[in-house]
């Protein structure tokens, strides 16, 4: 490029990049005023523009861009990601992921425009600006973008003209030369390193997407915003990428899957109670040798031969004495179609039935009470509000879920724990809903139809607040009547220790979680009279209901009011990235314990290893902080080895040149080369390296001969170097031994220290 046009082209490139950056910022959020967007973009553009005054363009524009540019580009690229959490925290506004990526590209473009003196950067910046302006035009039809597009077109025409003119001048003159051969003087070295890394990346990506399980493929895809996002709920998402508040509503029943306008249909499906037996195995009565007395005929007539169906019995029970379930419980057997599809954060516990009384073997269903809270319909919507007595002192924040009911589970309305609001399709009559038990919602008069969406808003327990302020309800009556092996009472007391309410309960749960093994197929022997004692004291392994009843009874033995709950557990690992839902299937039936607080909340006691409770979301800034804190703690714990390593690394870094030099000298002594020419070449290379480290490199246009002769005492080596390099076939005037001696002397005299102390000379 002609030298006098270069600065002009650089400036026009910066203008192009500026226009594109403005357009991208406007397109990033076209709902706000254009002036605000332009102001936001200028926050980035102006500093870069100011910095560009301090960047001196290189003499040769085709030279490699400087190293500092990498740092600047990395910083600029990371900035939008780093600032985004704070933006969301402080201003409550944010960009979705794909817009953040575009802003990263914009910053990269600005960084490249900053260094547009280098031809490579200039061209890349122009391409980036073109991409950004096209992105802006494709994203929005905002009038500001159209105006910027016009300006961009004008500036782009000037840019093209200048670049064309500059290249024309260069090549026109060159072709006029005597021999117009425009081949490169040297064979260009292929960028092997980049090629190999690029090839490995390509092979890795193809391999990962071809040969790994289905999920990984989608996880890879989710890094790209155009693939549909991460599938997460993001309040700042829009335009169909990720799940925001814009759920697409269907008009026709069952036409697009889940709808909220579904007409209610009847479904003759098996009840939930059958599912319990399928999942946990059939209950059985241990064989007992009992003395029997013959009854008279009247009483015999009252006793029915047939057991009534479980779901019709007035007081339903859950026995902990069960056979193994019939089917194998491998993941491949998971039901093809889910019962519920959940949108929202998991893990999630959905209550189905609660059991209250425990006779040592069998849990009996708690009687219906009115304690579930009053249902209030919110005006002008189908949302229902549950009036709780409890205050919000235990809770962190609210959590939204959509539970899509794929297959009806009877009358159960599967709500998450601590639900405060819900909406089921377009049901707007409160008398459609009622309480099955405390905290378990049902539709008393009909089954919940399939294909509807249940929207819920629930509160998430904050573990910190719970530990500090949970006041648990004591239940002396139930505790007194609890039939429990004295060893277990002692066990509970030992585990719980002497501290406040929640800490004691948590200690028991932690013990169960850490010292017992979850085994869905473990069952006590058939003649076992006390399955709970067997589980806690002997086998120490069992299914989830063993853990749950152990937790419930042990905590109850301390005097607290507890209950056993059967329900569904939406596991995070079952999240399906393709449908972006977490399916809940029959196999997700799970059993857990709950403990009551003074305010009437039932708090989850998840004692089964591998099962988690939903934790509150933390802002990005807090997460970053917690990572930093964890890092600091870890560093403090490993302070000695870390500081030793750091000192060692610093020392190695400080004396890296000396170490490398010593290594190469040692190698020179061991392998001095087969001929004296090799020996001299190696010596020259080592001296060159020392000179480079001392800030006196050999300019590429100077021969080793000329460079060495500038230093006292290196004349002989300079002669040798010239002979070695440029007289390959002439017999030298030295013997092999003499040449090697000269090399050795030069290496010994011109040590690295001497190079560093010798005054720097300007290469002529």
């Amino acid at each position: 490029m002609a030298p006098e046009i270069r600065p002009l082209v650089s400036r026009v490139t910066f203008v192009l990049m500026t226009l594109a950056a403005l357009a991208a910022e406007v397109a990033a959020d076209d709902q706000r005023p254009a002036l605000e967007s332009i102001g936001l973009a200028l926050i980035w553009i102006v500093p870069v523009w100011l910095a560009s005054w301090f960047v001196r363009p290189p003499a040769d524009p085709t030279s490699k861009p400087p190293m500092w540019l990498t740092g600047v580009l990395l910083l600029l690229a990371a900035a939008p990601f780093l600032l985004e959490p704070y933006r969301r925290d402080w201003f409550g506004i944010g960009y979705p992921l794909e817009i953040q990526l575009v802003l990263v590209l914009r910053n990269l473009g600005l960084g490249l425009a900053l260094a547009s003196g280098w031809l490579l950067c200039l061209r890349t910046a122009a391409v980036v600006s073109l991409f950004l302006i096209l992105f802006a035009v494709a994203m929005t039809d905002h009038v500001a973008v159209l105006v910027l597009l016009g300006c961009y077109t004008a500036a782009g025409s000037i840019w093209l003209m200048l670049v064309y003119w500059a290249s024309l001048r260069t090549y026109f003159i060159a072709s006029d030369a005597t021999l117009s051969l425009d081949e490169p003087t040297r064979r260009e070295r292929l960028p092997w390193m980049s090629l190999v890394v690029g090839l490995l990346l390509l092979i890795g990506t193809v391999g990962a997407t071809t040969f790994t399980p289905h999920k990984l493929t989608h996880v890879l895809g989710e890094w790209l915003a155009t693939s549909g996002g991460t599938g997460a709920f993001d309040p700042f998402s829009r335009g169909g990428v990720n799940d925001g508040d814009d759920e697409i509503r269907g008009e026709q029943a069952k036409s697009t899957g889940m709808t909220q306008t579904e007409t209610f249909l009847e479904s003759p499906l098996p009840s939930l109670y059958d599912l319990v037996s399928d999942s946990f195995g059939e209950p059985f009565k241990p064989k007992e040798q009992q003395r029997a007395i013959a009854l008279d005929q009247r009483e015999k007539a009252r006793e029915s031969k047939e057991r009534p169906a479980d779901n019709l019995r007035p007081n339903r029970e859950f026995t902990t004495n069960r056979r193994r379930p019939r089917e194998s419980r491998t993941p491949e057997d998971r039901s093809a179609r889910a019962m519920f599809e959940i949108v929202g954060r998991t893990p999630l516990h959905l209550r189905a039935t609660a059991y209250d009384l425990f006779d040592g073997v069998t849990w009996s269903e708690a009687p219906y009470t009115l304690s579930g809270g009053k249902l209030d319909k919110e005006p002008n919507s189908c949302w229902f509000h549950i009036n709780h007595r409890s205050t919000g002192s235990l809770f962190a924040d609210e959590e939204r879920h959509q539970i899509k009911i794929t297959r009806s589970s009877g009358k159960l309305v599967p709500t998450p724990l601590h639900t405060i609001r819900f909406r089921l399709g377009k049901v707007d009559q409160p008398d459609f809903f009622g309480w099955a038990q405390d905290g378990i919602l049902k539709m008393p008069v009909r089954d919940v139809p399939e294909g509807v969406i249940l929207d819920t808003v629930s509160r998430v327990v904050d573990p910190a607040k719970r530990a500090s302020s949970a006041r648990l309800l004591r239940d002396p009556l139930n505790t007194a009547t609890l039939r429990l092996d004295p060893r277990l009472r002692e066990l509970a007391r030992t585990w719980a220790g002497e501290s406040d309410d929640w800490a004691r309960v948590q200690a028991i749960v932690d013990r169960l979680k850490s010292e017992y093994i979850y085994d869905p197929l473990a069952r006590p022997p058939e003649d076992c009279a006390d399955p709970l004692a067997h589980f806690l004291l002997e086998s120490r392994r069992g299914p989830s209901y063993a853990f749950a009843s152990a937790a419930a009874t042990l905590v109850r033995s301390l005097g607290y009011k507890t209950r056993l709950v059967i329900g569904f557990y939406a596991a995070p690992e079952h999240y399906d990235p393709v449908t972006r839902h977490t399916p809940v299937v029959e196999e997700d039936l799970h059993c857990w314990a709950e403990v009551a607080t003074l305010t009437g909340e039932w708090l989850l006691l998840e004692a089964t290893p591998g099962y988690q409770e939903l934790r509150p979301t933390t802002p990005w800034s807090e997460r970053l902080w917690s990572v930093l804190v964890a890092l600091a703690e870890w560093s403090w714990r490993n302070a000695l080895p870390l500081s030793l390593t750091a000192v060692l690394l610093a020392a190695v870094y400080r004396w890296r040149r000396e170490l490398l030099d010593a290594g190469s000298v040692a190698r020179w002594h061991c392998l001095p080369g087969s001929t004296w020419r090799d020996c001299v070449r190696e010596t020259l290379r080592m001296l060159e390296r020392r000179g480079r480290w001392a800030g006196q490199p050999r300019p590429s246009s100077r021969t080793g001969y000329a460079w060495l002769r500038e230093r006292p005492g290196l004349d002989e080596l300079a002669q040798l170097a010239a002979w070695a390099a440029y007289a390959p076939h002439l017999a030298p005037p030295w013997s092999d031994q003499e040449a090697r001696l000269v090399c050795l002397r030069a290496l010994e005299r011109w040590t690295l220290q001497r190079w560093q102390q010798s005054p720097r000379r300007e290469a002529s």
């Binding site: 003159i173 010239a722 007289a727």
Partner: protein
Amino acid sequence: MNHAANGLRRTLNRALRGKPHVIEQVLACLLARGHLLLEDLPGLGKTTLAKALAEAVGGRFARVQCTPDLLPGDITGFSVFNQKTREFDFLPGPVFADVLLADEINRTTPRTQSALLEAMAERQVTVDNVRHSLSPTFFVIATQNPVEHHGTYPLPEAQLDRFAMKLSIGYPERGDEMELLEAALGEMDRPSQERVLAEGELKELQTQVARLTVAESVRAYLVDLGRATRRHPAVSLGLSPRGLLTWQRVAQAWAFLHDRPFVTPDDVQEVAEPVLSVRLGLAADRVSEVIHQLLESIPVPV
């Protein structure tokens, strides 16, 4: 090996004081069998240098003062009718000398310039269809005045290629001028220099120079430099293959003068400016800068 070259160097340095570097380059040009273009002001010692050179190499010296009315025959020589023998006799012109000084060559017409330049390239002249060979060590020192441009015929760039190098002598240093004045005291004529080279010795030296080793890496370096001149945006006329050959030969002569039996890239760089300045199409004020850029742009082989 270099006894003769040292003698030449000594003699010339005595004749032209305080310009050892110029003398070195003139010697390199002579040993490379090239011709020399001196671009300098009058009175700086061009003629002195040329005459001293002619005397030292032991050849005949001739001088042509180029004017617009100078004819080709005045340089090459012409035939005259001999009344006695009734035949045409050829009267050789100044071109048949061993060292020819063509003063202010840009003042004569292109026709005359061409005649001289042909003699320089071919080392022969053809008069009346008869070919006359010139001295095998024929050496031209042409001068031109860089200041005056009125009534001149600048040498075309293609013709300039026939010179091996272009030099300027420049003004001597103060001390040298003092010595000059001192030496001139009581002296009527400039003392003639003794002959340094024996008959045929110059040819022998030139043969030795031509045989000097040039490693392949150095040849590649020369080729790279040559190609770089053709690509450089400031150069309108790049280096021709003939120029490249000349450059190699001059570099050989330079190595020879420094007692080295092989050429290094340093030799190539040392002679780059005089060799390139005569033949590259370049603005006069950017010559040094561009040649420096060219040398910087190509890494030397090590």
